[in-house]
């Protein structure tokens, strides 16, 4: 229900509502204020930022965005690279995870419990530990500075969570449906294509969004695999911008970069809120 928190509460007779709305207001301030501050900073001139509240009426500008977008390479390039890697990773992960989850789920038994346990450990594993060995692989096979090659380790790191989520979804499908399809003479690939995957739509969508989010945010591997600046994805680009002195304090251009780097994901999250929550929630219940 799209009601604003300030709307008149229906059940005000309960008496605890003022306290609840105070907590909700605090929660919203805590969550949103740091981001809104970035937005505010990105629209101010340096003088206005240092002038405090006295300067609130003047000093609004779009120059910070102009500076970020006209740098070399322009900022949108990083967003484009991240999108490319994100889409590639998501497709590859689904391609590998759907058949794997299907086979595991239909197999059942102790074997599957062991595999699920291992996948859970792998899903929790801090992936930063892997960067050095993966970098050596990249050097050996000439995969560095290749955005599509980056999808390989990303898909590998996403697989544990993706397989677990999809397994839970396969478990909820009635097996009889599949058996009747079998009687109709459907082959395995036809069953996957015409029955299982369409019915699994929601689970596939939430898995896809979570994998995309992971890929968009991943840092250590992107940092070590990509060195050419026009190939950087968003995360290492932000680190490079943070370490450079090209943009002067106080941070107007930095803030513009954080805003531009945030907007695509904020939109994605608001549009796909339901599948994301469903996916995470199901993952928790399953685990």
């Amino acid at each position: 229900m799209p009601a604003s928190p300030s709307a008149q509460p229906i059940a005000s007779q309960r008496g605890q509502n003022p306290r609840r709305w105070t907590l909700v207001a605090l929660l919203l301030f805590w969550s949103l204020a740091p981001m809104l501050w970035q937005l505010y900073t990105s629209l101010r001139t340096p003088d206005a930022l240092l002038g405090g509240l006295a300067a609130i009426g003047r000093g609004w500008t779009l120059a910070n965005y102009g500076q970020i977008l006209s740098s070399d390479p322009p900022f949108w390039r990083y967003l484009l690279n991240s999108t490319l890697v994100g889409v590639g990773t998501t497709l590859l992960t689904l391609l590998l995870a759907i058949p794997c989850a299907y086979a595991l789920q239909r197999r059942g038994g102790l074997q599957r419990q062991l595999v699920d346990g291992a996948l859970l450990v792998a899903a929790a594993f801090p992936s930063v530990l892997l960067f050095l060995a993966l970098l050596q692989l990249a050097r050996q096979f000439g995969l560095a500075n290749n955005l599509l090659a980056l999808c390989l380790p990303y898909a590998g790191l996403s697989l544990p969570l993706a397989v677990l989520l999809l397994e839970a979804a396969f478990a909820e499908l009635p097996r009889e449906l599949e058996e009747s399809a079998l009687l109709e003479g459907f082959g395995l690939w036809q069953r996957l294509r015409w029955i299982l995957v369409p019915l699994l739509g929601p689970a596939v969508a939430s898995t896809a969004v979570l994998v995309f989010l992971f890929s968009w945010n991943e840092f250590p591997i992107a940092l070590t695999w990509l060195s050419r600046s026009e190939l950087l994805t968003l995360a290492p680009a932000m680190a490079r911008i943070a370490g450079s002195s090209v943009f002067s304090v106080p941070y107007g251009a930095f803030a513009a970069a954080t805003v531009l780097g945030s907007v695509p994901l904020l939109l994605l999250l608001l549009v796909f809120q339901r599948p994301i929550v469903a996916g995470l929630t199901q993952g928790a219940i399953k685990g």
Partner: protein, 283 residues
């Protein structure tokens, strides 16, 4: 048939997870650095002796552990409070839930840059408020005793919504008639929390605790951008030290040893926690 379906995924999983750990273990008994022309040369236990005596490694390990314990405790506490609030029925709850989830979705490096400005001394907004109240400012990112707290703060801000969401899933699995039965007996809200909510939430709390602890012990992105490990390596994490050894000092053998050492600490901590906390929830 099963091999065709599982094979490719399994192969990639082995390549991405198992091969690195195996190669680190092998590399930890070799020197591979500038003195060996970046070729691996067997050196026995040398790397491990160095690790045991490396004061910087142990300092980083203590700092990482402190960061992980403090931030994960705060995340669990605040996340539980947030989940309880979002579990009640009120208008606009769905919208508030999506808005509170936003910090979790942002790339860590993006918001870490934002925090650098927010914690800035003297021009950031937090110091603006502090200066208004006390007349002086605090050097959040320049003082070793404050910088690690700034890192904790930024991590708690980002990760609490995720914790809250998972705990909310657990809360919604608790049957409502349990609460009704307690209310009929005249139980208070506090009793409901202690006798129903927390015991039934236990498996979820344990899952979130272990998952978050593993992630927090691997903290890297946030620190690289927010403090760069400084001031005076007071916020450097073990992962940051491993990165430094590999990419700055080009000492791959020792970097691999640090990673294996960290993995060992992780396994030990996870095992101990599981043993201590995984008592059966129901008799």
């Amino acid at each position: 048939m099963g091999v065709v379906l599982i094979g490719p995924a399994l192969l990639l999983l082995l390549l991405v997870f198992l091969w690195p750990m195996a190669s680190y273990l092998w590399l930890s008994f070799h020197a591979q650095n500038l003195f060996t022309d970046l070729q691996p040369v067997p050196v026995g236990m040398l790397n491990w002796h160095r690790l045991v005596l490396d004061a910087r490694f142990w300092q980083d390990a203590a700092q990482t552990l402190r960061f992980a314990l403090v931030s994960v405790s705060l995340e669990l506490g605040l996340g539980l409070a947030m989940a309880l609030l979002l579990n009640q029925r009120w208008r606009g709850r769905g919208l508030v839930r999506s808005l509170t989830l936003l910090p979790w979705a942002l790339p860590t490096t993006v918001m870490a840059l934002g925090w650098r400005w927010i914690f800035n001394d003297p021009s950031g907004p937090i110091n603006g408020v502090i200066a208004g109240l006390t007349g002086s400012t605090l050097p959040f990112l320049a003082s070793p005793s404050l910088a690690w707290l700034a890192v904790v703060f930024a991590d708690v801000w980002k990760t609490t919504p995720f914790v809250a969401l998972l705990l909310l899933a657990g809360l919604q699995m608790i049957p409502a008639d349990l609460y009704e039965a307690l209310a009929l007996e005249g139980g208070s809200a506090r009793q409901a929390l202690l006798r129903i909510t927390l015991p039934l939430l236990r498996p979820y709390l344990l899952l979130v605790l272990l998952f978050r602890l593993a992630q927090a012990l691997g903290v890297f992105d946030l620190i690289v951008v927010l403090t760069g490990g400084g001031p005076a390596s007071s916020t450097e994490s073990v992962a940051g030290y491993a990165y430094l050894n590999a990419m700055r000092f080009l000492d791959f053998g020792y970097s691999a040893t640090v990673m294996i050492g960290m993995f060992g600490v992780l396994l030990l901590l996870g095992g101990v926690l599981l043993l201590v906390l995984r008592r059966p929830a129901r008799a």
